[in-house]
Symmetry: C2
Subunit: 402 residues, 2 copies
């Protein structure tokens, strides 16, 4: 019997991945670049147990058993890691034949799905990292990222901390489409992030189908593909130079361009709502007030904002959100801080008054438009936890189900 | 003394004008194509009086005197038409020397500015058309459109009824940048329009400054400039063929692309709000339900929707808007019909139940999200009215001021 428990972080792209050139192998149409956020606030945790007695693979996701045979993307990750383990076992007959054992997988996110934060990247990264630990695969993280990529494209970037590029690669078999670390989290410790969870009743288009609709129908996407290589180079340099103004401008421009090609898709795809647009206008007004770059927003395939800013501006930014996007009257809002970790309720008394930011342009939004705030930072990649942290019992069954 | 009163219509583009290659002469970066809406519902009305005793030009807009010397765009139109009149007077000494008289101009829109409908196109078209009548200029409408263009770009298209192209032209002096009629309103009488006035608290970016920000900062705009010529040709053919499916698809794609390049502008420009997006989703759901094209939306530089559809679908479309975008509880909504002209209050009893349109995707919006509905049709160009319709007294002063 072998067992391992790992966590993997969420990553938020600043140069966006949108579109596949190969939907089977998950090969993207353009390079992308992301920032890894602290696992103290957001992570997926996965425990895996392999036992000779397990006659089949089983999977529990957030406390509920799922049919693992129907999850093709997970299956890809099992197949690839098992093949590598089998090759090791064939080389060295003394190794336990783990590749022939059934596995039980139990995985949880420490953030509710209702928060609208994508969990597939951290979830698949945690799975692949845990399988690599379980099987004691001697491969490096970039190699492992090619396997995670086949589970969920952006999962490849969650195998690293800090600043991470996913290189689309040139090969048809995807062998050079992998993640590489541009810089570790310690390179730029001043950079922090505020996740604003935006309430939205409408169900968005899934990113998997949305991105292929864009590739098939957006004329403007062709120009985006010509624009991204220059942005990747400029963003990499901005990160290496810890140049926040350059980082901020590129981040906002690329978020906007991603949502532009969604709108140019036919029928159009919308992820931003009026609250998202209000946050965009607030950040531009805030920057303009100071005649420079104090903060940058980015939005993935949903209405939630991630605001990147130097640590010294973060208090002011939380005050601004508190003022222009107040908590609901009857639904107080949780504010999470990662460093040091704390959670408190956002109410009128929590913050000082914000600075005046062009009140003519920015109205005060209805209470509860932003339902949750998570203050976090750039942090490390997947972690191996102690046996005592396992989600599985010694018998390989979940300690907790719903 | 000479006096004339004219009206000019509103036009709504289906291939959008956005960006100038010459901001002085108002020369666009791409061709555009519009549909002229009935003046029975929406028009600008302008009266002009020229008298030897007037020692200066004076202007009243919607009942309020404005400083005409500060209105550079109007000034261009006066200068151009006066120069043409002067040349005529020099050729024929018997003509009254109207070019040396001061003029009084009084202009009103029959739709409130609060409705958020652009009034500069119809306003400048009415002015230039009235000046041409006053001065008895022997020029054709396409020539006149070059003058109106210098007042407000899209005003050139309001000099024609029916379906109108604005050709960007190649000459630096703008001599070939003018409007031409693709087809008169009688060509496709089945085509009608429903204007949905969308409530919005936010002040939008003016189109004059917005379009130049796009030209300067949107990388995707370069691709749009490559896309438009093909769309112009396809749209012209769709109109000539009265091919509603082709017309509808191109109209929606071009509206979306225009708003895409606004979003790719830096800082981004937003005109669509959540209600606009809801109307877009409703129209796609309605078309999908019928497996074809029943209606097409387009949005200018604001949140208001214009829905084009064959006459036979219009009742159903009004029912759909009535159902999914109900009138406010305490603010009943006016519905205007052009043919025959009538206005009535929209309340629950006004309409039958709408067809079921994918209720999972389309929520019912808060009451009052759409504040006014105008049901109108494709119609004719500027009209000359009787002396009794003048907005000016015999002394050349407004009959009504505010």
């Amino acid at each position: 019997m072998a067992s391992v428990t790992c966590t993997a972080p969420v990553n938020i792209a600043v140069i966006k991945y949108w579109g596949k050139r190969d939907t089977e192998l998950i090969l993207p149409t353009n390079d992308s670049l992301s920032v890894t956020l602290s696992q103290d606030i957001l992570h997926s945790k996965t425990s895996i147990s392999a036992q000779a007695e397990f006659d089949q693979d089983r999977l529990w996701l957030n406390g509920k058993e799922e049919d693992i045979t129907k999850n093709k993307r997970m299956h890809n990750c099992f197949r690839e890691t098992r093949a590598l383990r089998r090759a090791m076992e064939e080389q060295d007959g003394s190794l336990p034949k783990l590749s022939t054992f059934g596995v039980h997988v139990c995985s949880e996110n420490n953030f509710p799905t209702a928060a609208g934060l994508a969990s597939s990247a951290s979830g698949l990264a945690a799975l692949v990292f845990a399988l690599a630990q379980l099987y004691k695969l001697p491969i490096d993280m970039s190699d492992l990222s090619r396997i995670a990529r086949q589970g969920s494209g952006s999962a490849c970037r969650s195998l690293f901390g800090g600043f991470v590029a996913w290189e689309t690669g040139k090969e048809d078999d995807g062998s050079d489409s992998r993640a590489v670390q541009i810089a570790p989290d310690t390179h730029w410790p001043e950079l922090e992030a505020l996740v604003c969870v935006v309430s939205d009743k409408k169900k968005g288009t899934s990113s998997t189908s949305g991105m292929q609709q864009t590739i098939e129908s957006s004329p403007l996407m062709q120009e985006r593909l010509r624009v991204v290589p220059g942005r990747m180079a400029a963003m990499t340099q901005a990160i290496l130079d810890r140049d926040f103004p350059a980082f901020a401008e590129l981040t906002m421009q690329d978020s906007n361009q991603f949502h532009s090609v969604c709108l140019d898709t036919y029928p159009p795809i919308f992820y931003l709502n009026d609250t998202s647009r209000g946050i965009i206008q607030l950040i531009h007004a805030y920057n303009k007030l100071h005649g420079g770059y104090k903060a940058a927003y980015t939005f993935d395939a949903g209405p939630n904002a991630v605001i990147y800013a130097p640590k010294e501006n973060m208090k002011e930014i939380i005050q601004l959100i508190h003022h222009y996007f107040p908590a609901g009257q009857d639904t107080p809002r949780d504010v999470y801080f990662s460093d040091p970790y704390q959670v408190f309720q956002d109410d009128a008394a929590s913050f000082d008054q914000p600075p005046a930011v062009n009140p003519e342009v920015i109205p005060i939004y209805p209470g509860g438009s932003v339902s949750r705030l998570l203050h976090t930072k750039v942090h490390d990649g997947p972690r191996v936890l102690a046996e005592s942290d396992s989600l599985l019992t010694a018998e390989g069954l979940p300690k907790r189900t719903v």
